[in-house]
Symmetry: none
Subunit: 201 residues, 2 copies
DNA sequence: TTTATATGAATGAATG
DNA sequence: CATTCATTCATATAAA
């Protein structure tokens, strides 16, 4: 019982980040399952940990991004693509191989700001009166002092390569393991009833 | 050089405390923004500092409260309403001035211990039994490292009645304390438009 | 210098 | 998926 809270080991973290980097966003249960299995090689871990990790990581990533964009656009309303901010979340296109982990993702992932503001495009102009994202975090952007909370980053490149293969494999489990990271279950199968994700019910 | 860690200046601190005293608890992003702007007059500060400040302050406040209550209850299990403890969080009602710093807040704020245990302390149960839904909740069954988030599980009604209800009952807050502790800006005014984000209700 | 405490920062875990 | 809560980590400062 004394496992109050899971804490990812460096290796686990690295793998997760790698998957994330490869655009895994909403892993299906079976993916979570597999990932968990694999990660358990490096330390205790449960499915929920993996699940939550992706949830949080994605959320915080996007929040940060959102704020960066906002901030940027405020300064540069007309021109916004001259910078260097990280890449948002494109949708992957699952291959038709039988491996989930083998995602084909758009070689170019248009930042799809769209996904960032899928439900409230108007928030870009929330400065004065305040359309509000609610406190959760904007953590950033201010009169002049920006600076986001740094995400924990695992260094240690060596281990990285080690995992590479597995990750790649992971990313492709085939269609029946359910498509990778689409936010909306467009290709949902019987096992995964859509939850009406993006919509405001 | 690197300002490793923000440290509020006395004036900043004072303002923050004042807002907190006025029951600001979960400032929205625009509120955070405004506050940050204002506080930057007195020293370097970023949105995240403000955000974290509220998070931490609230958390520690409630933590302390919780402890006090517990302590008290241990000594005085049957009598607990002779006390003087501080008050938890109602929502502020923004004035129609354009300054956040002068908020009008509800004159009455029933302690609403409710807020202290707003979500089920299901901490007691940590075994999940799984169905198999979509990735989000099935969360279970695995080689050995199972356990997905149990979200709605909570078997055994008894656990349900845990701390929350119990504490409430012990403390006697009266029925009318319930209404006030909404987490969302129910009484948000023009200054703090709700974001209508999820709108899941 | 070492230890204890206050608190900023970060993130896991939920809930709705 | 947005929010919020609980914990924990990290560091600055006070105390010993």
């Amino acid at each position: 019982m004394p496992r109050p809270r899971w804490s990812p080991t460096p290796q686990q973290m690295m793998i997760l980040q790698d998957l994330y980097r490869k655009r895994m966003r909403n892993p299906t249960s079976s993916q979570v399952q597999k990932i968990t299995d694999h990660l358990s090689l490096y330390g205790n871990i449960q499915c929920k940990n993996v699940f939550y990790w992706f949830q949080n990581h994605k959320a915080r990533d996007r929040q940060k991004l959102r704020k960066e964009l906002l901030h940027k656009m405020q300064k540069n309303p007309s021109d916004d693509d001259d910078d260097d901010f990280p890449a948002p979340q494109p949708q992957l296109t699952p291959t038709n191989t039988s491996n989930i982990l083998d995602y084909n993702f758009p070689a170019n992932f248009p930042p799809t700001l769209h996904t960032l503001y899928s439900h409230s495009p108007s928030m870009l102009i929330d400065q004065a009166e305040g359309k509000d994202t609610s406190s959760a975090q904007m953590m950033n952007n201010n009169t002049g002092n920006v600076d986001f909370p740094k995400q924990c980053v695992i260094e240690n490149g060596m281990i990285r390569t080690n995992v590479q293969d597995w990750v790649l494999m992971m990313i492709d489990m085939g269609p029946n393991s359910i498509p990778c990271c689409s936010n909306r279950p467009l290709e949902t199968l019987e096992l995964f009833p859509i939850k009406a994700t993006g919509f405001k019910e």
